[in-house]
């Protein structure tokens, strides 16, 4: 489905000033914590759904089958491999295909089965912590996670605005180290993606705030250049739909142009 949308992606919305060096983005996926008409004025997207947006060439609602109506999609990712599996986290515990998934787990859906991509309890995540950020580092790289509360595991303190690698059964490097970067302690990353690069993070926070002189809302998408630590605002979602004035973006996926050529023309 994602590949089909990207093939139709032609016009690309102009990025915000100051991000010229970053790869262009050809497709966005996003989810909100409030059900709303995000596709157009009449097309409803529930909190458990996400939108694939070809940025000028159409928007599509995607419903992950089997999720209860009471669930909120906390973040999601689509694997860039032959299967295109979905990875996602939910705000509530849910039993799918006979397996219980806690709100801190990451679920993989391959089109028919639900399996546990990240087992929070096994990784030492304490009860009460929820996963609210899921991505891959680079095109098919290591799992990136973010959580909604501060906790410590194996001597490593993970904060709500951190984005951290999980690989080989253990937490690794922080791609976004909120404390080291001096981010306000009240900020919580609730959506993350790398748009299939190794050099950039896209994040959204669950509240508005100000970082490096950039004022943002809970619906805006910020970009962090991992090498320089430079922040910029990549997308203002209010420009996509007026519903973002009341909704918080809590799920994010981005596809860059380079990946399209790599996938479809090489």
């Amino acid at each position: 489905m994602l590949r089909k949308i990207l093939l139709f992606a032609a016009p690309i919305l102009a990025p915000q000033p100051g991000v010229a060096a970053a790869p262009a983005i050809a497709g966005l996926g996003y989810a909100a914590d409030t059900g709303a008409n995000l596709i157009d004025a009449n097309t409803f997207v529930a909190r458990k759904d996400f939108v694939l947006d070809a940025l000028g060439s159409g928007r599509f609602r995607v419903t992950i089958p089997g999720l209860p109506d009471t669930a909120i999609l906390r973040d999601f990712h689509i694997q860039n491999d032959a299967h295109g599996d979905y990875l996602f986290a939910l705000d509530v515990g849910v039993t799918l295909s006979g397996t219980y998934f806690a709100p801190a787990d990451v679920v993989r859906f391959n089109g028919s089965d639900f399996t546990k991509e990240f087992d929070a309890a096994a990784a030492g995540v304490p009860p009460g912590v929820h996963c609210d950020g899921v991505a891959r580092w680079g095109d098919t790289g290591k799992l990136l996670l973010s959580f909604d509360r501060t906790f410590t595991v194996a001597g490593k303190t993970i904060r709500p605005a951190d984005v951290i690698v999980f690989s080989g059964g253990a937490f690794g490097k922080k791609l976004l180290d909120a404390h080291a970067l001096g981010l306000p302690a009240n900020l919580n990353v609730d959506a993350v993606d790398t748009f299939r690069t190794k050099d950039y993070l896209l994040v959204s926070f669950d509240t508005g705030g100000k970082i490096a002189g950039i004022t943002f809302t809970a619906a805006d998408i910020l970009q962090l250049h991992l090498t320089t630590g430079a922040w910029s605002k990549r997308y203002t979602m209010l420009g996509f739909s007026d519903r973002w004035s009341h909704a918080n973006l809590d799920g994010l996926l981005a596809i860059n142009n380079d990946t399209i050529f790599q996938d479809d023309f090489e």
Binding site: N42, A71, V92
Partner: protein, 274 residues
């Protein structure tokens, strides 16, 4: 396998059979009303709740049709969290006490409790219900133990809140709420009521009419056109630390037909308490 639209549509039919939710709330908002907010709810008003669970408003609801309810509760054990939002019937009332109401959803009720068993424990909380041509909250089949709290119920045309007598609702608790400028009465409760920390202000006639064995505590009755409290049955009514001011044209502030259990601390500002 890449999940295709076709595959997704097929899975959508099969997968729900294997899903069990461990929590969470069903969402209600103005956008989803157009399509139906969840299973059992059809497009348009009223939003119909047919299964037990927790429901949360994520936007205000504005009812445009002249005869629709906003939300009908047809299930037992429902927690409806208005989440700080307003359910708006569009009408307005004039005068304090109210002399007339007009406009809006002329035949509609804000929240209509239509559950059908003695297990219909309904909790409605944290928001505003206003401007309906009928009743703001109608507890027709509310069950024993129903709770209303942290609400503002205002400018409704056929009582702010009305709990009729029936076999299910024998006790209802209301607390920390404002019942303001409704017509005619603020709250009519035929079951046994427990009213605490509420304000009844500017209603056209009676602020609170109770006919069961009720307790009214720490509440304020002000500028209602009729009595602040009218307990019209032979049942006993307990009054505990309430304030009465400018009700009933500054005449008698309350009328308890049955036994009055005066727990003390009741104050009538401009007329001797009965």
């Amino acid at each position: 396998m890449q999940p295709t639209p076709l595959a997704l549509s097929i899975f959508a039919l099969l997968a729900p059979l294997t899903a069990q939710a461990a929590g969470g709330a069903f969402e209600i908002n103005q956008d989803c009303v157009a399509t139906g907010c969840f299973a059992g709810d059809t497009a348009g008003f009223p939003v119909t709740i047919t299964q037990s669970g927790t429901y949360v408003l994520t936007s205000d609801l504005v009812v445009n049709s002249s005869n629709d309810d906003a939300i009908d509760i047809q299930a037992d054990r429902v927690d409806l969290d208005l989440n700080g939002h307003t359910i708006d019937g569009g009408g307005t009332c004039t005068g304090t006490p109210v002399t007339a109401c007009a406009g809006g959803a002329l035949g509609g009720t804000g929240i209509n409790i239509l559950a059908s068993s003695s297990d219909a424990r309904i909790r409605v909380h944290d928001g505003t219900v206003r401007g309906f041509g009928n009743t703001g909250i109608y507890g027709g089949n509310a069950g024993d133990g129903t709770v209303l709290e942290h609400l503002t119920v205002a400018e409704n045309n056929a009582h702010g809140i009305y709990f009729p007598s029936n076999v299910y609702s024998s006790t209802v608790r209301m607390s920390d709420s404002m019942i303001v400028r409704n017509m005619p009465a603020g709250l009519i409760g035929l079951p046994n009521l427990s009213v605490e920390n509420c304000v009844f202000f500017g209603n056209q006639s009676t602020g609170l009419r109770a006919t069961g064995e009720s307790t009214v505590a720490n509440s304020r009755f002000e500028h209602n056109g009729g009595l602040g409290v009218w307990a019209s049955s032979s049942d006993a009514t307990a009054l505990d630390h309430n304030m009465f001011r400018h009700n009933n044209g500054n005449a008698t502030q309350w009328d308890i037909s049955g036994a009055l259990l005066d727990m003390g601390g009741n104050v009538c500002a401009d007329h001797a308490c009965p």
